[in-house]
């Protein structure tokens, strides 16, 4: 995509295109400007601007107190966010790679997720944990995972995977507003992609599935970077006369399944695409919801899941590419689904 011309001063630019990463930064800046309780903390997010450049110049705009560099101390950082949230602040933590949440799991799973419930509703933990996830950067097994299903399995955590620049901003703003802990998983390959984010674009509600494209033949449900790959596959399939829907749940927990069930009931075919390994993955939940609903009676073919291989992400580029779904694989899977029915 190309950048659109700057809008005349004093008007809002409805066609503005910015990067996913700029959209995240804009959300952080707007939230900090609007609410002094909001602050961000994480490793190398200050002068350095973040390992993926997401916080950028926020340190210079908001100062070292509110754009707070921390030691390499994930458990401590997340715990500090839990405590600050309990004591009236709205912390936004950046964990440099989502893999490093493993270092902080006690505070995420045993503390943040449970405090509101466990305390009988007497306290709230309004915190956000942002973390880049996914493969495709040659960073190998400890810097490339997709652990979203772990978080989505824990009652008390909300889990968000924005797939577009507009959602990256809008879902983050809603996450910061939310009185609960929200995990926002940003795909690294999306940071440099661009999309329309109108000036003044606001909140995108949590727990609302997006229908990215409406088709007749196959319902593709995809998360994270797989949304973009599925949209690309959809164009190629259209050239073959196969008309697909692409549905992006956006919020994995709590899940808005109604648009998915409705679309599958219409097409009779479901292709579920995720980057994470298939075994016990998030799309297994989607498949279960389909077969537990009346949509099962409308199925013309067995549900098809296309997932990452059940392997750690390898280093070599050809191996890494082979380990997770690519556009070709999505096209092939949709075609075979049509043949099966």
């Amino acid at each position: 995509m190309t950048a659109t011309p700057t809008a005349p001063a004093g008007t809002t630019d409805q066609g503005r295109v910015i990067t996913y990463s700029e959209a995240v930064r804009e959300a952080l800046a707007e939230a900090m400007s609007a609410d002094e309780r909001v602050f961000v903390l994480g490793e190398d997010i200050g002068v350095y601007g973040g390992a993926f450049g997401v916080t950028g110049d926020l340190y210079h705009r908001f100062g070292a107190e509110r754009v707070r560099d921390t030691p390499i101390s994930e458990l401590g950082i997340v715990g500090a966010a839990v405590g600050a949230a309990l004591a009236g602040m709205r912390p936004v933590v950046e964990i440099q790679f989502s893999d490093f949440t493993c270092q902080a799991m006690d505070q995420i799973v045993n503390q943040a997720a449970k405090i509101h419930f466990m305390l009988g509703g007497a306290a709230e933990v309004p915190m956000v944990l942002r973390a880049p996830l996914g493969s495709g950067t040659g960073a190998a097994a400890q810097h490339s995972q997709s652990l979203e299903a772990w978080f989505a399995h824990v009652p008390g955590l909300k889990v968000v995977m924005p797939a577009t620049a507009e959602d990256a901003k809008g879902l983050l703003l809603s996450a910061i507003d939310d009185p609960n802990p929200v995990i926002v998983l940003e795909h690294k390959l999306l940071y440099r992609t661009s999309g329309p984010v109108p000036e003044g674009a606001g909140r995108v509600p949590l727990g609302k599935t997006a229908v990215r494209r409406r088709g007749r033949d196959v319902t593709i449900v995809a998360t994270g970077v797989m949304v973009q790959r599925s949209l690309e596959a959809a164009e190629r399939l259209a050239a073959d006369g196969i008309d697909v829907s692409v549905i992006d749940p956006r919020t994995l927990s709590p899940l808005d399944d109604a648009p998915i069930l409705e679309d599958v009931s219409r097409t009779g075919r479901a292709l579920l695409v995720q980057e994470a390994p298939g075994h016990v993955g998030f799309t297994a939940e989607i498949a279960s919801r389909i077969v537990e609903s009346p949509a099962i009676y409308r199925l013309l073919a067995p549900i098809r899941r296309l997932s990452g291989l059940d392997v750690p992400i390898p280093y070599a580029p050809q191996l890494e590419t082979a380990a997770v779904p690519q556009v070709d694989g999505i096209v092939d899977a949709a075609r075979s689904l049509m043949k099966d029915s």
């Binding site: 458990l75 997340v78 715990g79 405590g83 045993n110 503390q111 509703g121 007497a122 609960n180």
Partner: protein, 326 residues
Amino acid sequence: MSKLGDDATTATRTLRTMWQIRRFEEAVDDLFARGLMHGTMHLSIGQEASATGTCFALRDDDAITSTHRGHGHCIAKGADLERMMAELLAKETGYCRGRGGSMHIADVATGNLGANGIVAGGIPIAAGAGLAYQLQGLDRVVVSFFGDGAANEGAFHEAVNLAAIWKLPVIFLCENNKYGMSFSTEKSFAIENIADRAVGYGIPGVTVDGNDVEAVNEVVAAAVERARNGEGPTLVESVTYRWKGHSKSDKNLYRTKEEISEWRDRDPIIRFERSVVERGVLDQAAIDAVRAQATEDIRTAVRAANAAPDARPDDLLEAVFAPATA
């Protein structure tokens, strides 16, 4: 600075709190033994001075985080005895409406940010609350209670370091009761005093006799003053002993009867009573009255909690997430 036993009013209040803790724990022990209480429990009998001396150095608007052995901390911070007992008895009127139980009692209104079932789980949370107060420009402080076992968790290291580099208003209060479940501090530490670890973080570390309520209070008060003045955290090691087992499954296979009996002779409550009598602050009749009052306080709490309605399962799903207010 005046001591807790210097005047009759403060001495009475101190003594009553310690006896309330003792009687509360005894009542819980008894209810469990008779099969009238569910779950598990971690009693703090023998550690009453540590909880009381510490919390009595705080203002009402200061905060604490607590541990699985947290009943004493709650009571000393001013929790309502009936709501605590109701929580343990699985009642709707309990602090957590039956969803938390013994290990998760919190009372945010009195600055109790919560007990914790995870060893060291509350330490980073305390640092975070301290960070919030610092950012908000408030002069509140946070005490994080934890045991000797927690000082070997990574969370301890990370949280103390954060508090040290940011000069957070936190007092890290390590209750060294000699055992992490069955594992003795002799085996789990290669240093003599846990407070010595403070050097590694560039903060003061103090070891205090945790069975001396006045000594604990003085040490913590100094740490609180330092924290309130923006000078940062202190690590306080309060050396004490739990008379009872770790939890109800404990058969005391790892320690001797002699050792337990030696520590029972160092009863922190009796010690304070003797001291105030010797100093002429309270007489025996006043002390007997405090004991009787504390016993009655707990009886009332048990009676009222027993009569309260049971916790209800009907809104469990709605309780997972806090509702949006905006």
